[in-house]
């Protein structure tokens, strides 16, 4: 738990639109430990998603550096970052973003094939993961448009896990789901974290945030405070109270 896997120092991100400069992230320092379930919260426009994408190597910071297991990835070229992402990261998005033209199984295998050429092994692991998230064989050859929102997001989670990444980045993964589906998805994410994979998740939802053991609160591009919680225990009223008080302090 104490091993730092991802570290950002003096991280800044500025967007410019002509003469207008927008400083979205300002000199952030973050330390993510292996096995952490970190949630980033904050009001709209606080820079949550920008921070998530910068940490995952999807976007390059304007200033500062990001280390993954001691290696500075912020210096990497775009292609090297792509290789880094395929090997070490998994992604889950609010809009799910499955490839509509491909079957459920292909949507997962496509990520696996970026790392290994062993199609049989990848397919077997995909099926095993699908089974773990409660998807039956019937779904394998279905297309995303034939799935419910919850089913599609579970497929997206399997896609994120197919290469057994050290970190899973999730951008409001339950934002577009109804409460039942959201709970199912969060249960899967919790199990993933329990198996040792780090999760960094952006959310607006307090019920989602309850799953994390660490909450970072962002305001105007700066982490103004953080809350550390113990391991997740279902229906723990104390945990919910502490989190609510923290968020109230933040002006939630």
């Amino acid at each position: 738990m104490e091993n730092t896997i991802l570290k950002a120092e003096m991280l800044s991100k500025t967007y410019s639109n002509g003469s207008i400069m927008q400083h979205v992230l300002k000199n952030l320092n973050i330390d993510i430990k292996a096995g952490d379930f970190t949630v980033i919260m904050g009001s709209s426009g606080s820079g949550k998603s920008t921070l998530l994408y910068a940490l995952s190597g999807m976007d390059k910071p304007t200033l500062g550096k990001i280390d993954f297991k001691g290696e500075e990835i912020s210096k990497y070229s775009n292609d090297r970052l792509a290789v880094f992402r395929r090997k070490h990261c998994g992604f889950v998005f609010q809009q799910i973003y499955l490839n509509e033209t491909m079957s459920v199984l292909d949507n997962i295998i496509i990520s696996g094939l970026l790392v290994s050429r062993d199609k049989k092994a990848i397919a077997a692991r995909a099926k095993e993961l699908l089974h773990q998230v409660g998807m039956t064989e019937v779904c394998y050859q279905k297309y995303p448009s034939q799935l419910s929102g919850g089913e599609a997001q579970r497929v997206a989670i399997v896609r994120a896990l197919i290469n057994a990444p050290e970190i899973v980045f999730a951008d409001e993964p339950t934002g577009a789901l109804n409460s039942t589906n959201a709970i199912n998805v969060l249960d899967v994410m919790t199990e993933v974290n329990a198996s040792g994979q780090s999760i960094i998740m952006v959310t607006h939802d307090i019920k989602t945030a309850r799953r994390a053991n660490r909450i970072l609160y962002l305001k105007d591009g700066v982490i103004i405070d953080e809350l550390k919680l113990g391991s997740y225990v279902k229906d723990d009223p104390q945990r919910h109270k502490i989190l609510r008080e923290f968020l109230e302090r933040m002006g939630w």
Binding site: S49, M58, D59, V83, L113
Partner: protein, 789 residues
């Protein structure tokens, strides 16, 4: 106003499609406007040109032996109004070389007239007249300036056998009758009084002739005048051995216009192809626009806009684009008018002036508007069927429920290949459209290359189309024909000889009659050019083969019996074959020597076509013949060279048209591929962004686009080029059908087909690579955060 706002907003959002459409419409406008303006105004233009100089309606050039009888014939014809006669010098075996342009010497018959002779018919108006016309000054046809690059002050060598006179070009003149050697293989040159008399006093340069020009009361029926004249002349001058030429205004007018009419018809056809491509682009971009903006459409409908208003906004959008494209095209047509002037002038041999033709502008605008708005309406009509709710729920978003043809679990393809192939299948509609466009353009490219090759590089197929023989030398003997022809046939360096004559025959069928240049030879199988397209050439003395033009005019067909009236003798002939020829406006026929002897028992062949052995020099052979028969009445001409020279005047026009077409094809391919790939990247922005996020590198994604696109480009260009290989001759025959051409044998070099495939594929590859390269610059999160355009 609101509709206009939505329309302009749509245009702003779809810049690439808009630019592509504007360019396509502009190009279509250029071709359509230029094609229609030339086609519809050429006739009036030629009439106007002729009227400026009171140009002759009929011309007769003879040796002067029957002047009185000819004048009587003129006066006996109802439409005759007036005529002028003057003395000239006819040189049948003259050669020319412009020393200043560095051209090679070429053969062409010449009629010299005295510039200082007062004349009211076909007055000479000099273009680029020398400040002071020298004694050896010569006024030459305008076509030499525009097509051959002659300039005032150039030295023109006039050669007959070993005799040479240097003339200085002192200006140019326009005369429809002698406008282009491709129409009449003869120059009419005007020299000053002293030079004229010098030439007249040197028999080596030619013989005196009588040149008469006629004005009739009916300029639209000069061919009937010619027909009547020819018929009457035969009764008073059966053998007509001293009659050099008779030319009618009607025939010459059609003759000069044939080539440019074909070019303009090709331009109009090309504009229709471009409009078809524009229609495909409209269909493509309208569908894309509706798919991408379905939520906006839903929102507008929810706000109270009717589907009719939204459909109207799309029509207004294309109306604006068409207006801009049309204005750009019209402006460009004005800018390129010097090029068009050059092409038309060098083809017809008269100074064409490109003007502004309001009626043509309206016709072109109407054609383009109807085409564009029609296809826009049908493409966008589905909007009417979409309710606001379905639109807001992405109602017509395409869902894929098809069979998974490349399951990644089982495929043997590499990941990128498999992804590219999947994309190829998924984008099949767009690929089909792009493929169709590339196929059409590839076909046109091969056709253009083939046209250029056969017109400008290897002219033999063109000469065959014209219907002439490919003999290097033609010998005409007025005496001792048998002996001279036998001796020439036995000369070293001669591969073969064939006696081939022709006469102006009048063929009758039922109550109709038609003039035809009728060829006579003993055995048609010995000719090198087979003009027969149906049935066979005549073998027996009662058989005839006739061109389709003449057969159509007569209303006759193969198996019918026609008659030829010659010098009071009428003989019947059975039509055994259909021939084709471009020369003599397609009016031709063929009978055997035995058949001719039935019409004229004393007939004796006067023309010998001489085919030289490989490596034999035409010039030295002609000199040898002239030296050997210096004391005999014979004329020798470098036959093949003079035909090639005739075709040279078309070369410049063909070069301009083909180069222009190929350039435009390249631009269209680039724009269409640019549009296809750009729209695809915009549509698949999220997928590409997510792929990048998952770990695909930009190179992998570009590679997938290449894999999905290149088979379409290569396949379509190959299909189009191969179709072009097989379709060039049928298409050409279709275009020349009005000229009686049923079968073309243009050589289509397979290397050109390969070159077209490689060229288009490389152009496509470069375009795809350049456009797809934009994927490299976009960070994954920005791609999907920005959503679909």
């Amino acid at each position: 106003m609101k509709i206009l706002m939505i329309a302009t907003n749509n245009i702003r959002k779809a810049k690439v499609a808009t630019a592509t459409l504007i360019i396509l419409i502009a190009i279509a406008t250029i071709f359509l406007y230029v094609g229609i303006s030339v086609l519809s105004n050429l006739d009036t233009f030629i009439d106007g040109k002729n009227a400026e100089t009171n140009g002759a309606h009929f011309i007769s050039i003879t040796d002067g032996s029957h002047d009185a009888a000819i004048d009587q014939i003129y006066e006996s014809i109802d439409s005759y109004a007036s005529s002028e006669r003057e003395e000239g010098l006819m040189s049948m075996s003259s050669k020319y070389q412009n020393v200043d342009t560095g051209e090679e010497a070429y053969s062409l018959s010449t009629l010299f007239l005295n510039r200082e002779t007062p004349r009211d018919i076909s007055r000479v108006t000099i273009i680029d007249e020398a400040a002071q016309i020298p004694e050896n000054g010569v006024i030459v046809p305008y076509v030499l300036k525009i097509a051959n690059g002659y300039k005032t002050g150039d030295t023109l060598k006039f050669m007959v056998d070993d005799n040479t006179t240097e003339l200085e070009i002192a200006g140019f003149y326009e005369d429809l009758m002698f406008a282009s050697p491709s129409n009449v293989s003869m120059y009419k040159l005007y020299v000053g009084d002293k030079q004229f008399n010098d030439l007249m006093n040197q028999p080596v340069y030619g013989s005196k002739c009588s040149y008469s020009a006629v004005i009739t009361d009916d300029i639209d029926n000069t061919e009937a005048f010619e027909s009547q004249f020819t018929k009457d002349l035969k009764t008073v001058w059966p053998e007509r051995t001293g009659s050099y030429a008779t030319l009618s205004y009607g025939t010459m007018k059609i003759g000069v216009a044939v080539f440019i009419n074909i070019i303009m018809a090709v331009l109009v056809a090309f504009s229709i192809i471009i409009l078809a491509i524009a229609a495909i682009v409209i269909k493509f971009s309208t569908t894309t626009h509706i798919e991408n903006n379905i939520k906006n459409i839903g929102a507008l409908e929810a706000m109270g806009y009717t589907s009719g208003q939204i459909l109207g906004s799309i029509l207004v959008e294309y109306l604006l684009i068409t207006a801009v494209g049309f204005a750009v095209g019209l402006g460009a047509s004005m800018l390129i008018s010097p090029v068009i002037t050059n092409v038309v002038s060098s083809s017809i041999g008269l100074r064409w002036t490109t003007g502004i033709y309001p009626r043509t502008i309206l016709i072109s605008l109407a054609v383009i508007m109807i085409a564009v708005l029609g296809i826009s309406y049908f493409s966008a009509f589905k909007i009417k069927k979409i309710t606001p709710l379905t639109a807001l729920r992405n109602g017509i978003e395409t869902h894929h429920f098809g069979k998974n043809r490349v399951p990644l679990e089982r495929t043997k393809l590499s990941l990128n290949m498999a992804m590219g192939y999947k994309s190829l299948i998924f984008n099949k509609r767009q690929n089909l459209i792009a493929g169709l466009i590339i196929m059409m353009l590839s076909l046109v490219t091969v056709f253009s290359f083939a046209a250029y090759y056969n017109f400008a590089v290897d002219k033999s197929a063109m000469i065959k189309l014209i219907g002439l023989e490919t003999a290097e030398v033609q010998v005409t003997a007025m005496e001792n024909e048998e002996t001279i022809f036998d001796e020439i046939a036995a000369m070293p360096g001669v591969a073969d000889t064939v006696k081939l004559d022709s006469f102006d025959g009048v063929i009758k069928y039922d109550k109709k009659e038609c003039g035809a240049s009728t060829r006579i030879t003993e055995d048609y199988s010995r000719l090198k050019v087979d003009t027969c397209v149906k049935g066979r050439m005549p073998v027996n003395d009662n058989e005839i083969a006739i061109t389709s033009i003449v057969l159509n005019k007569l209303g006759a067909q193969m198996g019918d019996t026609v008659s030829i009236d010659y010098n009071g003798i009428t003989r019947e002939f059975l039509v055994v074959g259909v021939t084709q020829q471009f020369n003599m406006l397609g009016r031709g026929a063929a009978i055997t020597t035995a058949g001719m002897k039935k019409l004229m028992p004393a007939y004796q062949e006067k023309n010998l076509m001489v085919y030289l052995a490989d490596g034999e020099n035409t010039k030295s052979f002609v000199t040898r013949i002239n030296n050997q028969y210096a004391n005999q009445n014979i004329q020798t001409a470098s036959y093949f060279e003079s035909i090639e020279m005739m075709l040279d005047s078309f070369e410049a026009s063909i070069k301009i048209v083909v180069t222009g077409c190929l350039g435009i094809i390249a631009v269209i391919i680039v724009f269409v591929m640019f549009l296809v790939i750009r729209v695809r990247i915009l549509r698949e922005r999220i997928r590409l962004g997510v792929s990048k996020a998952l770990g695909f590198t930009a190179n992998q994604l570009i590679g997938q686009i290449l894999i999905s696109q290149m088979p379409v480009i290569i396949g379509a260009s190959a299909l189009g080029a191969v179709a072009g290989y097989f379709a060039t001759n049928p298409l050409l025959a279709l275009m020349l059908a009005a000229n009686g051409i049923l079968n073309c044998e243009f050589y289509v070099d397979p290397r050109l087909v390969l070159f077209t495939i490689i060229g288009i594929s490389l152009l496509g590859l470069a375009t795809v690579l350049i456009v797809a390269n934009s994927i490299r610059k976009i960070s994954p999160c920005r791609m999907f955060e920005e959503g679909v355009d």
